[in-house]
Symmetry: C2
Subunit: 323 residues, 2 copies
């Protein structure tokens, strides 16, 4: 049987485009539309009429796209999303995108064809923006799209500020921020911003190590930065992964944590419910983020009013790497 995938391949376009042509909704360039129509003709593709007659019927399922479920942040988030959806009578379809735009686009196409009712997406891929449309029930986590897509995030800016405040309150005076930066606009950039603004306002001394993604060897870059600036005594890391690498480098250089150098990360997520946090960090309210994402996507489906962005408060966890 000829599938929509075959049509897309034959026309040399994405699945989303074929879907938009078939459903006659969303913007498609006229030349592209022709290409798709010719491919449909050539392959004698017949859309599944039974499935199409179901268009208005809800599937009671929401898809969640994460880069990989094999990661504490995403698995904890997915845990709470599924739990919340299940309480409300919805099933959760899980997609590990591995940042492959094609897999993500496939789900947007399912959404356009009403094979799922809504989509919650944590996505970092480059090519997806053009397929996203604000008329679809999509909620994004941390990321802004060109289109006006609702997003849920933790208060990254306040998190940066809190980290600066806690480091200074605990006696650090030579501060540093370390992290990477993506060319896709996202909320985590605000961590540095909040940190920097607060440190500046306090007139304290600080330096920044910000590397363009993908970073080849974080450890080596961190080591060079710390060796060059031995006066640094308080570090805010963009996330806990960076914090752990920084702590490892500090220890390997014979620097004691936290007595000589304090380190604060961002995320505060354990590998399972039973594990306990160790390092000091700014904790994201994952459970609440999951609940708000579910609430938002269902409200869009029900045509209720939804805020354009939902920003949730973070909190400082005083672990083993601050005094």
């Amino acid at each position: 049987m000829v599938s929509i995938k075959d049509v897309a391949k034959e026309a040399g376009v994405g699945l989303g485009t074929v879907s938009r042509v078939l459903n006659n909704k969303g913007a498609v360039k006229e030349s592209t539309r022709l290409k798709v129509e010719r491919a449909i003709e050539a392959l004698q593709y017949r859309p599944n009429e039974v499935a199409r007659s179901f268009k208005m019927q809800q599937t009671q399922s929401i898809a969640l796209i994460v880069p990989t479920i094999w990661h504490p942040f995403f698995s904890k988030f997915a845990y709470h999303v599924e739990w919340e959806l299940s309480e409300l009578g919805y099933k959760m379809i899980l997609c590990n995108s591995q940042n492959e735009a094609e897999k993500e686009i496939n789900y947007i196409s399912m959404l356009e064809k009403n094979k799922i009712d809504g989509l919650i997406a944590i996505t970092y891929s480059h090519d997806i923006d053009q397929y996203i449309s604000s008329h679809l029930p999509i909620v994004s986590i941390d990321r802004h799209f060109t289109e006006d897509v609702v997003y849920v995030t933790s208060d990254n800016e306040s998190g940066g500020k809190q980290a600066a405040t806690e480091l200074m309150n605990r006696g650090s005076s030579q501060l540093a921020y370390m992290g990477s930066i993506s060319d896709i606009e996202n909320e985590s950039m605000k961590r540095r911003k909040g940190f920097e603004q607060h440190v500046k306002a306090q007139g304290a001394s600080y330096s920044i190590l910000e590397l363009k993604e993908p970073v080849q060897d974080i450890e080596q870059e961190v080591r060079r930065f710390i060796v060059d600036q031995p006066e640094i005594d308080g570090i805010f890391a963009m996330n806990d992964k960076w914090a752990k690498i920084i702590i490892h480098v500090l220890k390997s250089l014979g620097r004691s944590v936290p007595s000589e150098v304090q380190v604060i990360g961002y995320d505060g997520i354990t590998a399972s419910k039973e594990d306990e946090l160790t390092i000091s960090t700014i904790q994201q309210p994952i459970e609440q983020m999951a609940k708000e994402a579910v609430k938002a996507v269902l409200n869009i489906i029900l045509k209720e009013e939804v805020e354009a962005s939902i920003v949730l408060p973070v909190s400082f966890y005083n672990g083993t790497t601050t005094r």
Copy 2:
């Protein structure tokens, strides 16, 4: 609208029972059938005819039940299951059961109503056995059911034997096994068995700490056991969680690991792809287990022949807790 849940509630039976009555398949006691039929009458329940006409059509979706996705074992397994299914054109619906039988039964009922094509289940709940039926496309991980359900597991017995061999080859002579035991028959019991048989065959000295689940305070029980038997110099733990607690207790008692006491766990799973293993352990082949589970459930759906049990080889990882 009256739902199947309302009927179940009214009749005082489970969803699976109502489903079996509606679909007229599977064994239902005559008195129970009457109760269900009366409830249907009383509530004027009408099954969704459109959905029923779809019965023979495949949904191209497989559900995966895990106790919680917020756990490295289950998230890594789910990662590979989803990836494999996606390659084959299937979607994965994820269910965190939290060991609640009701949630699990709901999925079995979906399977009976052809709302999903198949089910891969990691389940430890007590009440589910009666709902499982070998005529359904169900694949279980680690657990045996009364009914002849296909299961996939790692070679636990060989794992126990390997642990004993590695401890002895590396100089331990006073061995111990530590773990818990559930009253639900499962494959992990064979870890102890393989260990014990091999140690016995070698004529070595050993002792066993096996606690009935749920264990209130593993740390305290482990401490007492080790204090009572200070001669123990090689420990096989039922899993890495136990191994970590044992290592913690040993260190708190001033015992050096691995120079005085060697410890080997079971599982060998990191919290994400980027993390590295630290402790010595018997590694389960999670990726292969996921692939075999997917293959088996699809083969059942396609009425192909499937082995009743699929047992996959494990391997020893020589980490920081063996010499």
